[in-house]
């Protein structure tokens, strides 16, 4: 009973927050509703017994992707008046595209037939003696190793692409080079000066370099 109740609560919040993502006026609120939707989806995963997927959803999407998303959206200086300017003009086109997409999805969904034996052939049965985390690991690192490494490679390429796009080559900012600082000898940085009466350090070093002592 509690499980069913929990399911309906999470599912309702999930759908509601998904609607709010596209209807909220403020983009920051949209992102926050998206995060709420992610968390509820994770809760549904837990109810379905897929606790590993639930945690990974929270860690990857909520903990990392959405943070950067929120970060970018907050820093954007969006002019909402300018955004709504062409709304009347482009609304028919948008509605047309939306309608076509809906019809297509409907056509696919209606024409979809699944042979009853399909799930037996495609799925790997859940081993009884393992938690689903171990079972997933067992599968990903053996049967789907190639696909897994391909995905990793794809992410690596995307990362390198992002670095290349933003790296300008020349060093414009002043950075600290710690090893260079450590390798600097003392006599480059420090001079000991014996001050005469009534004279400043600068006068002493200029007029009488002989009295200047360097420390080693």
């Amino acid at each position: 009973m509690i499980v069913a109740l929990a399911f309906y609560v999470f599912a309702a919040i999930l759908l509601l927050s998904a609607c709010m993502v596209i209807t909220a006026r403020n983009p920051v609120h949209s992102v926050l509703f998206l995060i709420l939707a992610f968390i509820n989806a994770a809760a549904l995963f837990v109810l379905a017994g897929a606790e590993f997927l639930a945690m990974v959803l929270v860690i990857v999407y909520v903990g990392a992707v959405a943070v950067l998303f929120l970060f970018v959206v907050m820093m954007l200086d969006v002019d909402f008046a300018a955004l709504r300017e062409g709304f009347q003009r482009y609304a028919p086109l948008g509605l047309l595209i939306g309608f076509i997409l809906m019809v297509e999805i409907g056509a696919v969904a209606v024409g979809w037939t699944v042979t009853p034996a399909a799930h037996l052939a495609s799925q790997v049965p859940m081993p009884a003696d393992m938690s689903n985390t171990a079972a997933l690991g067992d599968l990903i690192y053996t049967r789907y190793m190639f696909a897994f490494e391909l995905v990793a490679l794809l992410l690596l390429v995307a990362m390198i692409g992002a670095i290349v796009l933003t790296h300008s080559g020349e060093r414009r900012s002043r950075r600290q080079d710690i090893s260079a600082q450590h390798q600097r000898p003392i006599d480059e940085t420090l001079t000991m000066v014996k001050l005469g009466i009534g004279k400043g350090a600068r006068q002493m070093t200029q007029s009488a370099p002989a009295s200047q002592e360097t420390i080693r």
Binding site: L32, G63, V67, L70
Partner: protein
């Protein structure tokens, strides 16, 4: 009749609530007295007396502070997003509390002994950044926003190294269950074979909880008080308590991953007589003392130094050590479930 009630849905709910209460009350008292301990320890290290007026040795000071905070006015700045502004401190404090659901203080003494406890902790600690970002944005203030941006970058960066450190613990245990992680340390605590990882985890924990020397999101000398400049009264107090609750949580995680949880340091008679929760408490207190000690000792990092440490030192080091750990386990045949 009784047994029937306690195994019904409602009975399980009641028992879980009672357990949560049994954990929460000591935890909240611990948070209150950690603020007192911090002031006393800092005072002792700076040759001062610290709070000593309210009650014997100033012991009622936390309660006096709490009452003061409760009776102050909550000021909501002009142009702030009201709901989010009030919601942000609740997120920070709430997250620090709900993570305790999976922490075992003794063998099988956790509110929820789940299979993916370690991932749950990691997920909760990765959500911690939201309280700060939302607070910074909702305040509608430049200083608060600067603090929020800093902390978002800082917490995301140090999470990467925390994740890799946790992975190397995971490789040694072969289970994501926190109870199994502690039991796996009955011969040797992971702090000894994984010493570099232990140090990295602790330092990353300092950065993750925004504590000195990584308290740049606050940075009172440059950005006034960072993300919570605009906060007052109880919403400020929630941020303040959230920081301390997070410190206790980080210490608890350090204890479970590296210091053998509730296990006694030497498995011999006089030590094993002491019950497990006491050992757990002592180890957590040791970690907390180091948190305070570090704050009294070290000056604040500069922002570029912080990023450099996270990405150029900790990330390669922890990645490297993960490979070394895995190779060593494979070569010597110590892999769990091999």
């Amino acid at each position: 009749m009784e047994a029937g009630f306690f195994s019904s849905d409602l009975g399980i709910l009641v028992i879980t609530l009672l357990r949560a209460l049994a954990l929460l009350v000591p935890l909240l008292i611990g948070v209150a007295y950690l603020t007192y301990a911090e002031r006393k320890v800092l005072a002792a290290m700076q040759l001062r007396k610290g709070p000593n007026v309210v009650g014997p040795f100033g012991l009622w000071q936390p309660f006096a502070d709490a009452i003061k905070m409760l009776f102050k006015e909550t000021v909501i700045p002009d142009g702030a997003s009201r709901l989010l502004f009030l919601f942000a401190p609740m997120i920070t404090f709430g997250l620090a509390i709900i993570a305790w659901a999976v922490i075992p203080v003794n063998n099988h003494w956790a509110i929820a002994n789940i299979n993916v406890g370690l991932l749950y902790l990691f997920a909760i600690s990765s959500l911690g950044v939201y309280g700060v970002i939302i607070a910074g944005w909702a305040s509608n203030s430049k200083f608060a926003f600067l603090g929020a941006m800093r902390s978002a970058a800082q917490m995301v960066s140090y999470e990467v190294s925390i994740g890799l450190v946790i992975l190397s613990v995971l490789v040694c245990v072969g289970s994501l269950n926190l109870n199994d992680i502690v039991v796996a340390q009955r011969h040797i605590w992971f702090a000894i074979p994984l010493l570099p990882m232990f140090v990295i985890f602790f330092i990353s924990g300092l950065a993750e909880t925004n504590r000195a020397p990584f308290d740049l999101p606050e940075g009172e000398s440059e950005i006034v008080a960072g993300f919570f400049v605009e906060y007052s009264a109880m919403s400020f107090a929630l941020f303040f308590l959230g920081e301390y609750a997070n410190m206790i949580l980080m210490s608890g995680m350090t204890t479970i991953f590296f210091l053998g949880g509730w296990l006694s340091p030497i498995p011999l008679a006089p030590f094993t007589w002491v019950p497990g929760p006491i050992w757990f408490l002592l180890k957590v207190m040791l970690c907390l003392f180091v948190f305070l000690w570090v704050r009294a000792t070290l000056p604040r990092f500069r922002y570029d130094q912080l990023m450099q440490l996270g990405w150029k030192v900790f990330l390669p080091l922890s990645l490297c050590w993960l490979v070394i750990t895995a190779s060593a386990l494979e070569i010597f045949g110590w892999l769990p479930h091999a």
